[in-house]
């Protein structure tokens, strides 16, 4: 148990005034960045990377790690209060968090998100400590054919994300995939569907698309319902709510563990992150639920599922980064650069040669996850109060301004603001016709993963007599195929056994 010893010796390391200050600073910055629509965790870490050049490696990693963890959690605030995922990892939180807020339970939703994030964050980091070397080897076996099937499997989640009308859900997913094809092809580099416009070369960015698809339709709705003065029903919050909700959330161990495991595993896979994890976890929570029809109307389980899983991806993503030196998520790619600039090479030998750095980092991020709770609650309470009090005619321009700044900041590019606005209007029209934003974004996220895996897989197949068979001869592919088929047929399976759905009136 050499690692345990290292772990213990790292604790005094993080108790220095400087590290504590960096942790609190990282958490604070992360919360604000996460809560701003359009500013993702990736952006936040990139933005503050230069600050760390003057820090020691441990200080730098603890600061960036805290910022990362807090940004993913902070994204739930805007998801709950504004129906805008603060980061791509909070998409699913809008489904139940926002209805809760509208019913006057915004503060409760934020409490649920906070405790779930804490749970998921700690779970992910602890799993990282225990399973890292073993899982890193399995993650490597995930090749192009597996990513293709992962994309397909992800799409089957649509069948549960689209309430009521599965067909419309799949059409929505298809629309999302079509949007993802615009711009430079991920493989091969051809320029497609840009219609000669230079604005479309880099395609539709995920973050501007998210902001557009989720937030703009809501803003349009607010404008249409001009008569209304306030968006939310003001509800009195009783004393002791924070503790009561904590107990309630902790009682849902099954939901918490399921979401944590999903988040952690998806985080381990290079190239997949919180953006997929939160949707898969949401769909699984619904599948496991006794009352799936209530999902989307403001149930706690929905928020628990997404907010637990996205914070669990953080620890998952560190697995390939710290053991293989291979970044698992975009944020990890930036952390990789940060380590290189510090003169350290991420990889398994870092655990032995620079154990001090690695374990200070791990303990630091765990501590930051704990610190995140009081700071987050303070911040969340303030934000809830402000949003609840603002009349709609003030809220609308403020949100619009925020979305535009957020979209612009992604790449300092005005094209992204156009993307956001155009997709926003499109999203509004589609929503009127019953096409929800969830399946569309899922298509947008999974399109490139499935496409890249497919093209690379076909090239890999050139080694074989029948190139196509490459997709059907690998064990992990089989698992994913079986899962996809099973989940696709789930609504039918469920219908044929009424006992599964509980007693129905």
């Amino acid at each position: 148990m050499a690692s345990f010893q290292y772990l213990l010796s790292a604790i005094p390391q993080i108790l220095t005034a400087k590290i504590l200050f960096l942790m609190i600073g990282g958490v604070g910055i992360g919360l604000v960045i996460g809560a701003l629509p359009g500013m993702s965790a990736t952006m936040g870490v990139a933005l503050f990377l230069p600050l760390t050049y003057w820090m020691t490696p441990s200080e730098s990693l603890v600061f960036l790690g805290s910022l990362y963890m807090a940004a993913i959690y902070g994204g739930s605030f805007s998801a709950i209060l504004l129906r805008t995922p603060g980061t791509p990892s909070n998409i699913g939180t809008t489904f139940d968090g926002y209805p809760m807020a509208k019913q006057g339970k915004g503060w409760q939703a934020i409490l649920i998100a906070t405790y779930s994030s804490l749970y998921g964050g700690l779970f992910g980091m602890i799993c990282f400590l225990i399973f890292a070397p073993m899982l890193a080897r399995i993650a490597l076996r995930f090749g192009p054919p597996e990513y293709f099937w992962l994309g397909i499997f992800g799409l089957t989640v649509i069948s549960s994300l689209s309430r009521g009308n599965t067909l419309k859900g799949f059409i929505g997913g298809f629309i999302g995939m079509m949007i993802s094809f615009v711009g430079v092809a991920p493989i091969g580099g051809n320029v497609r569907f840009t219609f000669g416009s230079s604005h479309l070369i880099s395609g539709f960015g995920l973050i501007p698309a998210l902001v557009g698809l989720f937030c703009i339709p809501e803003v349009i709705n607010m404008v249409i319902q001009r008569g209304q003065k306030q968006l939310f029903i003001e509800a009195k919050v009783e004393k002791g709510t924070a503790l009561r909700i904590f107990v309630e959330v902790m009682k849902k161990q099954l939901d918490l563990i399921r979401a944590s495991i999903i988040g952690f595993i998806i985080g381990v896979l290079p190239g997949a992150g919180g953006n997929i994890a939160n949707l898969v976890s949401y769909s699984e929570a619904m599948r496991a639920s006794k009352h799936p029809e209530k999902f989307g109307t403001g149930v706690a389980e929905g928020v628990i599922a997404t907010e637990t899983s996205n914070n669990a991806t953080v620890g998952g993503g560190f697995v390939p980064l710290m053991t293989l030196g291979v970044p698992g998520t975009p944020v990890d790619a930036i952390l990789y650069g940060a380590l290189l600039i510090q003169g350290l090479r991420p990889g398994a030998e870092l655990f032995t040669t620079r154990a001090d750095v690695v374990y200070t980092f791990i303990v630091g991020v765990i501590a930051a996850t704990l610190i995140m709770v009081p700071i987050g609650l303070l911040f969340g309470k303030g934000m809830t109060k402000v949003v609840y009090k603002i009349p709609i005619h003030v809220l609308v321009p403020v949100i619009l301004l925020l979305t535009m700044i957020g979209s612009y900041c992604v790449q300092n590019n005005i094209s992204d603001v156009y993307t956001m606005l155009i997709l926003g209007v499109l999203g509004y029209i589609l929503r009127r016709f019953g096409f929800e934003a969830g399946p569309i974004t899922l298509g947008l996220i999974l399109g490139p993963i499935a496409e890249t895996g497919f093209t690379q897989g076909l090239l890999m197949g050139r080694k074989l007599d029948y190139p196509w068979t490459v997709f059907f001869i690998r064990p992990i592919s089989w698992v994913l195929i079986v899962l996809s088929v099973l989940f696709l047929l789930w609504p039918l399976i469920r219908k044929q056994s009424p006992s599964v759905g509980g007693v129905k009136q």
């Binding site: 650069g337 790449q411 090239l459 050139r462």
Partner: protein
């Protein structure tokens, strides 16, 4: 009329010398056209403090990622102000290949490179525990196979062209599998999804304990990989690399370009900078503005030919 022209020339002259004498007086923005943390970013970060010392103003590094650099370079030629206060990192063969492929709103000739400071040569690597120990082993392994899978970053790219070239001169059946970057290519090799990688010297150095470099596509051996033979030594004429440099918006006054060019030259010749860059796996180069222009002009027909070949292969 003549007087007016003369007067105008004089004003421009006075103005530009005045300009030059006072350049730079405010922070210079150094735009990296890729995501933070990548090779271009690390390069700019290493240069930053030295540039600041020489030019006497802060150097602010910002990012404009997208389209494999195309988003940033479109801005460079179409929207950036040509006053020397915004400079952009550029890469070869990217700025040659993207216009050949089409769909980007800039032409290679519009990009005024003022310095190319380093290259990352292509290297052929296999996992460290692979039975392939040398390039001869690789040829033996590949001969007569239906296909051998070579992963790499991007297509068309220096990696894809080096693979194409190697397949041709060594008469091997190589299939190039493009990945979105080294971040996904390296795990593909480690997980056995491809047989080898045609990657860059930076990867060879940074993953020294996991990957074995069996050949490098340079004219001569490089100091940080002294035991790795060049393809030429082995009898195969494969020389392929990616260049990294810096450009200013079209129309930037010559005097300002001189100042920036001199600053980059001084930074690049600094032994500290050279040591830091070589440690990560960059090969240092020095092409001033004139030489950069010649380099690009020389490479344009070369890459056009390779691009045509790739197109034929696809059919």
């Amino acid at each position: 009329m003549k007087k007016a022209v003369l007067l105008m020339c004089l004003t421009i002259f006075v103005f530009s010398t005045f300009f030059a004498a006072n350049f730079p007086t405010k922070p210079i923005t150094y735009v990296v056209c890729f995501d933070p943390g990548g090779e271009s970013d690390i390069t700019a970060r290493i240069q930053q403090p030295y540039l600041e010392k020489i030019l006497g103003v802060p150097i602010v590094i910002t990012y404009k990622a997208g389209g494999g650099g195309a988003t940033g370079w479109s801005e460079l030629v179409n929207r950036a102000t040509p006053d020397g206060y915004s400079i952009y990192g550029t890469n070869l063969p990217h700025i040659i290949l993207q216009p050949i492929q089409g769909g980007v709103p800039y032409k290679t000739e519009q990009i005024e490179n003022i310095y190319f400071f380093q290259t990352t040569p292509c290297t052929l690597v296999v996992p460290i525990d692979s039975p392939i120990k040398t390039f001869e082993d690789f040829v033996k392994y590949a001969s007569g196979k239906k296909s051998v899978l070579i992963g790499g970053s991007g297509q068309p790219s220096a990696n894809s062209f080096a693979t194409l070239r190697l397949a041709k001169v060594a008469k091997l059946n190589l299939t190039y599998v493009p990945f979105t970057g080294t971040g996904t290519a390296v795990p593909a090799l480690l997980g056995g999804n491809v047989d080898a990688l045609m990657t860059y010297s930076t990867v060879s150095v940074q993953y020294k304990d996991k990957l074995r470099t069996i050949a490098i596509a340079t004219e001569q051996r490089v100091p940080f990989l002294p035991d790795v033979p060049t393809f030429r030594e082995l009898g195969y004429d494969v020389v392929e690399k990616a260049f990294r440099g810096v450009a200013v918006p079209p129309g930037t006054p010559a005097e300002i370009k001189r100042i920036l060019e001199a600053a980059f030259a001084e930074v690049n010749k600094n032994p500290e900078v050279r040591a830091k860059m070589e440690e990560i796996g960059f090969v240092m180069e020095d092409y001033n503005e004139e030489q950069s222009k010649e380099l690009v002009a020389r490479l344009i027909p070369y890459y056009k030919e390779l691009w045509d070949e790739t197109q034929k292969m696809g059919k």
